[in-house]
Symmetry: C2
Subunit: 258 residues, 2 copies
């Protein structure tokens, strides 16, 4: 009886200990440390991000998803800059191509996409990039697939001549947009119903963001992070990736919510 009473007395103490044994994790960063748990708050020894309580992180794990549509001849920095930014912002990035066959980026980097257009899941954001963009823009099957996802796509994001692909899908009509500095006139001709601007780092129309060429994708991606997760998160990502040259709100924001 005495032992039973002791046990009854101990149960709440044990339960209390369990509740208070907070565990800490880094915000999701797509590095192996995503699965590391720490007993104390502080910074992650691997990625250097400030740790958060594990329970908080579970809520944050409802990640924003992004489809990176890739193709033979896609420009490497066009997609890698935003991939780095979205990764540190905790977005879940998937790569998709027309088929799952390996493709070459810039004639150098051989990539195996995660999905083809036959089995790619829907994502919150659809992102396209420049390079040999006509490989995608002139492929009716790809354009039709992009259109078929439109209802569930919350945001579009293009870097450089990736804008030609969105234009071909009819997404840029009536919008103010931008592209690679040497393709301004070509895009204006291709999408006469859009207003194509030069000398702007990115243009945010609310649902659709288009950026200038190649490295401008980094700025556009940071802008999208600021828009969806807050300025502080974008600034933390810029600091993490040592993009000291980040100038918040450097582009043109025509977003109705702005």
């Amino acid at each position: 009886m005495k032992q039973l009473l002791r046990l009854i007395f101990l149960i709440p103490c044990f339960a209390f200990t369990q509740v208070n044994a907070a565990k800490y994790v880094c915000p999701p960063c797509n590095h192996p440390c995503d699965s590391t748990t720490y007993d104390q708050p502080g910074v992650c020894a691997h990625c250097g991000m400030t740790l958060v309580e594990k329970n908080q992180q579970i809520v944050k794990d409802q990640k924003i998803t992004v489809c990176f549509y890739l193709y033979d001849g896609v420009e490497v920095l066009d997609f890698a800059g935003p991939m780095e930014v979205f990764s540190y912002a905790g977005f879940k990035v998937i790569t998709v191509a027309k088929t799952k066959a390996p493709l070459m980026s810039q004639g150098i980097l051989k990539i195996i996409p995660d999905y083809s257009i036959k089995d790619a899941p829907q994502t919150d954001i659809f992102a396209v990039f420049g390079g040999s963009d006509d490989v995608a823009a002139n492929d009716p099957e790809v354009i039709s697939w992009i259109r078929s996802r439109d209802g569930a796509t919350k945001n579009y994001f293009s870097v450089c001549t990736g804008a030609f692909i969105l234009g071909k899908a009819g997404l840029l009509d009536q919008l103010t947009v931008t592209t690679f500095h040497k393709s301004i006139t070509n895009l204006q001709n291709a999408v006469p119903k859009a207003k194509v601007l030069q000398n702007v780092r990115y243009v945010d129309n609310g649902r659709i963001i288009t950026t200038a060429g190649i490295s401008a994708g980094i700025d556009g991606a940071l802008h999208l992070v600021a828009k969806l997760k807050g300025k502080e998160v974008a600034e933390a990502v810029a600091k993490q990736i040592e993009y000291d040259k980040y100038i918040p709100e450097q582009g043109m924001n025509l977003s109705p919510q702005h």
Copy 2:
């Protein structure tokens, strides 16, 4: 006899016409337009680079070669920034990993390397990048392979925590170097014979260039292009990739030739 004389007279004219039928090509940029020939000077319709005479290009085709050593967990922007820069500067980039098995960059991008350490050709420049750098730095076989190439390697180039790999290969002793901003102390402890600086975009020791974290690889790569091919080429590449934020000579140049 009259006809023979006419023929003799015409031969040099014909030869002269041939010599002057100049063809124009874009500087090598690893895009499909590398094989396009134009009859007139101007700019390449695809990549927008200023055309050069084909004969000049043949001389330039003796390309500087770069080995991009990749591994599971390599940071995507670390290597993609320099890959973009070197590509437009006309360097020939190859990717090498320990084996030819696909590897994951940042847990997102699946890459098939061109070569393994068993069959990779020698290159002028050896480049390493950050991320899960201990995968390479703690692999004696990889470190031994890097050392075995040392005699024929003209330049080393590290981005971010890629410096740990060069350090493990004994290449940073007695040098002033840099790395990812959160790894300054760790690198100093790992390579006590080096002087590890913070708050510097890159450090050029002549043969070995180390850069700060992630996006700083773009600046370091542009510096290496300026060093090997001239400031004008680096500025043209920065303009092409719309890296308007490029500040020439932003890093620390300790190169003896400087």
